[in-house]
Amino acid sequence: MVCVNLWYDVGSRHEPAGQTGFAHLFEHLMFEGSQHVAKTEHMRLVQGNGGSLNATTNPDRTNYFETMPAEHLELALWLEADRMGGLVPALTQETLDNQREVVKNERRQRYENVPYGDAWLRLLALLYPEGHPYHHATIGSMEDLNAAGLETFKEFHQRYYAPNNAVLTVAGDASPAEVFALAEKYFGLLEPVASIPPAPGSHLPGPATSPVRETVTADVPAPRLYLSHRTHQFGTAGYDAVTVLAAVLGNGRGSRLYQRLADGARIAQPDYIGAYGVDLAHAPAPLIVTATAKDGVPVETLEEGLSEVIGSLVTEPVTEQELSRAKALLTTAWWRQVSTVGGRADTLGRYATQFGDPASAAYRLPQWLAVTADDVTEAAAYALKPESRVTLTYLPETNGESA
């Protein structure tokens, strides 16, 4: 088996006002044919030769990948080169109109038609100021999607889809010499783009200085809270401490949140409590703490409990036991991430794109393991102050207890 993976250094952070959702809609268009690949043929050639494929877009970047039986390595490279260098001639209004409807249905299915489904969209707008590249969500607004014109997508491809804005990673049953020769053959003659416009500025001076609250009354089955903070950028020592902090705080039944609020005070539903960082690399990344109230528990009680547990990270130093538990879970998570050719290729592509060196991936786990209790306390004191907190509250429409 081999995995062919491409990271393009373009994501929703590059989208100007009025074009939210374009990077992701563009990703869909990449599967609809290119100069030598007829419409529907991309999927047919990958699956019809035994492969699995997909692509994802997030605020930072867009990635494309297919895992194939090793004898089809060259086919995968040919397909990727053809859509990197030859998408524009195949783009049609019909394709755009169709995929626009598909993406609008994706938005309905993932964000609009499920309880709490729009939490991430709301959190981003609360965490990052108007005009910041992370302020809007990758899925975009219906209004902008409706306004998307064909010319914009042709320009988008010409601006960002070129060898000098991409990292190609191959993992699996192939020799480096063979891969480099094939990469040269298929990508070597593609024109680089002359000047890639810099991404919109993403500098932020530090954590927010005043708290923000939003309360949503909606058709949800129980009160739920999301408490979130901007922390550090992914890839920094500060964010490594936040990663360990998140595991201590909210990963597993042994975490502080679970032990104190689901098991101890029994005010939070055990299946819906946790904390996690979102690994964004171009501005301080969010830490999100979430919990859902048990039946009859007022949302104020739950919020008080969450605040106390978050605050305890500063006032009650993390113990050796908590630290080693968190590191053991992170170690397993790391090995799980790289246990497939797809996971290995994507990890290497990320580190090459974001830090200029795929080998730097090897430092992540050791850096997590080097985080000390003091580092966690320091990260909490810096990033998790009540005055920098975003509090998003969902209340059921007929919620008697906390109205």
Partner: protein, 448 residues
């Protein structure tokens, strides 16, 4: 010209291999190990013949409450100490229930797997099951089900299942129960289920580097203190199908999409048509280029995705198409879907479509089996359905070689477009009149 116009030919295919298996009989149970040299992680799964089918009527969800109670402390240690011990190994316990089995998975870095297995066995064989804890877990599970049922899908699934298998039958009720049946589960139900079914040895499946892992020690840990004979499998349920189509409307006011669940019964997993049915369903609704996904998503833009497949357990099977479609196009999406099912039933599949289905299914046997967790899952299929050790190599060959005529014949025999139950969960006030007018089938309201 900077692009190469000619599509490259494939290189030389490597032979298909499934990991070497080893079997050990120890302490009254069997361990099956799959060798994955060089993997940093290992997985184990204790497979017990204690699926949801063994629950009492009206107490559906008993096994799930038991599964969720296992980590509430053991005779050795309380729940906090248990969580700390397990998670400090980097291990995760995943107890779960399906129709045929109660399965407890545990994964950890290779050097920690034995200790993790000892802890897993401690939870499975000697859980504390304090009545206060069990009652609390039961109440939490009722709440969790209400949370789940607030999503689109679970209510439609329940309505379909009840119609296909009968609301009074165990197989006609949701696998994990519903809020009412779980609320009725008592401490005694949970204790009795544990006593009857979780003290038998079962089978232990292990995937990882067998150069380091000690299968005998893992088996000792898993089977210590167990007893009882293997259970006999009950016969299949048969394949009754409706004489006429029926539409069941599940109201979800304000829903921006309609959730479709279209299905009918099908043969159980042991059917000799398994491979041909799977290939036919792949052409109809499995691959991205399937007839359904092509028409409903790529041509019409009605959905983010639509899938059709057979799901089969030991005693029954069913065919199902699932999708979420924009509310305004609910009826045209249903009509088009019925058209593709009927076309496939009547005229079978083409060579071109079948070629994609063959290669994709065969390739998935490699692509989707890279991790210890996925290999353990593959081993569980062998055990539950009594399949031989060389099964996956055989299955791969069958995917590649089953003649087109057999695949089309399977579509003709096992697709029943006129006997479908069509469950549509959406905004009834908006879609009802159009659905009735479309004359696809009688429209009834769900009692869910």
């Amino acid at each position: 010209m900077t692009l190469i116009a000619t599509r490259p030919d494939p290189g030389e295919a490597r032979p298909y291999t499934f990991p070497d298996l080893q079997r050990v009989t120890v302490a009254g149970g069997t361990v099956i190990g799959a060798h994955l040299p060089g993997q940093a992680l290992a997985s184990a799964m204790l497979l017990l013949d204690a699926g949801a089918a063994r629950e009492s009527a009206g107490r559906e969800g008993t096994a799930t409450v038991l599964a969720k109670s296992l980590e509430e402390g053991t005779t050795e240690r309380d729940s906090a100490a248990y969580a700390l011990a397990l998670e400090s190994l980097g291990a995760e316990l995943s107890p779960g229930v399906d129709w045929d089995t109660f399965r407890v998975g545990v994964s950890a870095p290779v050097p920690q797997l034995l200790d993790a297995m000892r802890l897993a066995a401690e939870a499975v064989r000697t859980p504390r099951l304090d009545p206060d804890d069990v009652n609390r877990v039961r109440d939490d599970e009722v709440t969790a089900l209400r949370m789940d049922w607030a999503q689109p899908g679970p209510r439609a699934d329940a309505a379909l299942r009840a119609d296909l298998f009968g609301a009074a039958e165990r197989f006609g009720r949701p696998m994990h129960g519903d809020p009412a049946s779980v609320a009725a589960v008592s401490v005694d139900d949970v204790l009795a289920f544990h006593q009857a079914w979780l003290r038998r040895p079962g089978v232990l499946l292990v995937a990882g580097d067998l150069g380091t892992l000690d299968l005998e020690a893992l088996g000792q840990a898993a089977f210590a203190g167990t007893g009882g004979d293997a259970l006999t499998v009950e016969p299949p349920l048969g394949v009754p199908v409706r004489a006429e189509r029926r539409i069941i409307l599940v109201d979800r006011p304000g829903s921006v999409q309609s959730t479709l669940r279209l299905g009918h019964r099908a043969p159980e997993r042991a059917t000799p048509d398994y491979v041909a049915m799977t290939l036919a369903a792949t052409v109809l609704g499995g691959a991205f280029t399937s007839r359904l996904n092509h028409l409903i998503r790529e041509v019409k833009g009605y959905t983010y995705g639509i899938r059709g497949s057979y799901a089969m357990s030991r005693r029954f099977g069913r065919f199902e198409v699932a999708a979420g479609v924009q509310t305004a196009v609910t009826v045209p999406a249903v009509v088009d879907t019925l058209g593709e099912i009927a076309r496939t039933q009547e005229s079978g599949v083409t060579e071109d479509e079948l070629a994609v289905a063959r290669a994709w299914r065969a390739g998935q046997l490699s692509v989707e089996m890279q991790t210890p967790g996925s290999i353990v899952g593959a081993l569980s299929t062998l055990v539950v359905h009594g399949l031989p050790d060389d099964y996956y190599a055989t299955l791969r060959r069958q995917y590649l070689e089953t003649p087109l005529a057999e695949v089309s014949a399977a579509a003709a025999a096992h697709l029943r477009p006129n006997g479908l139950t069509l469950v549509i969960e959406g905004d009834a006030a908006v879609i009802r009149d159009e659905l009735v007018a479309a004359q696809i089938g009688d429209v009834v309201d769900a009692e869910i």
